[in-house]
Amino acid sequence: MNFLRSVLVFATIFAFIGISNTATADKLDDVIKAGVLNCGVVLDFPPMGYFDKDNQPAGLDADYCRDLAKQLGVKVKIFNLTWGDRIPSLISGKTDVVIGSTSDTLERAKSVGFTYPYFVFKFQVISKKGSGIKVFDDLKKFKVGAPLGTTYETEYLAYAKKMGWGRSNYTAFKSENDGYLALYQGKIDALISTNANIATKLATKEFKDFEAGPFVPDYDDIVGIIAKRNELAWIQYLNLFLIHQIRDGRFAELYQKHFNAPVPPEMIQSLRDNK
């Protein structure tokens, strides 16, 4: 009887340890224990993410991954994702966090957890010089493209629907780069993208004949880092990380590095307001 009881006690203790282990070990612990941060970035979205000439990940998002890993004291492994890959990669556990300019819509927040915003974009049109696109409503007469499943696609299509333009002049692309390639080749007349990306593209000699056009009306794209929705402690850590990036001046430093310009005060203000 004694023996049976001690077995029972041990079993209970082990079970308890087991349960408490699964209950407390969260993503933050997992990452530190594993010694590797699996960080997803969209590397087709310069200057936030792109490949440099050695085919290595570069850009502000990639640098944020490296900073985060450094703060955690772990190594970083950067995964190249398409827009569509972002959530599957989180849910499938391939990535621990995705720093990929994800717009914080309430619809998406039903599925993933968002941190505080870390960047603000405006949606803008890029087209060939002299194409005659002056205001956003001019787009009706042109062949327009946008990357599939992005917030700017949604915004454009919603606007087009409101104005009764129909979809016949619209082409979707699997990625941002495919869109730019199509614009470059002349497949489309105008591409909806973000002001940051457009500015970067215009600085290259390939896009010297192009110009930035009107903005998508009344829309600020506020983006956050995403993680699994239930990893609250992890998301809290990420929030603090973002606050520190701004407080320690690292954000301003990286902005300068990737945009060749000082960070606009409105952006910092907007990031603070949207917390």
């Binding site: 000439k53 890959d85 390639l181």
Partner: protein, 217 residues
């Protein structure tokens, strides 16, 4: 920031080669594993009754009828949801192998069915036991006739392995896409990629036809 667009250079050779090797690697793996599993399943199907065959056939049907691209996305998401995330290579090879298996099963089943009942009976009447008759008669004769269709499936697997790029495996096509993004030279790179697939696939398909012709006589 560094420059966004840089032309293709000799530094990229290693990078491209890695993509090529990854394509070869996952294709060979899927063909080998898929063939072994297909051989087993084909054998089971050829000896099973109608009921078992119906059930097996329905399961294999799903693998053949749902587009590979959707199977890949579903599987790699699913394994993560149940808490066992896999690397793109692992999810990719599992699905590609199962997909190969589904087609190989039918190939081998046809091979087994080709060996007529009287030939099996003849083998048994020579004093062979069941195992021996399978090992020395059914397998060798059945397998010889399936080689051309086996080659057909294997070739399509090499080509379909390009789809594993959608879940992030850096095979040849995804490698080339990354280079296109960086260089904005789609035509040159795509032609190179096409040529590579052709150089692997064409000699193999010619070989398949050669064997088919030889066996036809």
């Amino acid at each position: 920031m560094g420059s966004l667009f840089t032309p293709l250079s000799w530094n990229d050779t290693g990078f491209i080669l890695q993509g090529v090797l990854n394509t070869v690697y996952i294709s060979v793996l899927a063909i080998v594993v898929g063939s072994v599993l297909g051989l087993i399943m084909g054998f089971i199907r050829s000896i099973s009754n109608n009921y078992t065959n119906f059930v097996l056939g329905s399961v294999l049907d799903i693998l053949r009828i749902v587009p590979l691209i959707i199977q890949l996305i579903l599987f790699s998401t699913f394994v993560g949801v149940i808490g066992h995330p896999l690397l793109p290579f692992a999810s990719g090879s599992i699905i590609l192998s199962l997909y190969t298996m589904a087609f190989m099963t039918e190939v081998f089943r046809a091979g087994f069915d080709n060996v007529s009942g009287s030939m099996r009976i003849a083998a048994r009447s020579l004093g062979m036991n069941y195992r021996q008759s399978i090992r020395y008669v059914v397998l060798p004769i059945g397998m010889r006739s399936v080689f051309p269709s086996w080659m057909g499936v294997a070739l399509s697997v090499i080509k379909d392995s390009a789809l594993v790029s959608v879940i992030g495996y850096m095979e040849l096509l995804r490698t080339s896409e990354q280079l296109i993004t960086r260089t904005q030279q789609p035509l040159e790179i795509l032609l190179g990629v096409g040529l590579f697939y052709f150089l692997i696939s064409y000699p193999l398909s010619e070989f398949g036809r050669y064997v088919e012709r030889k066996m036809a006589i």
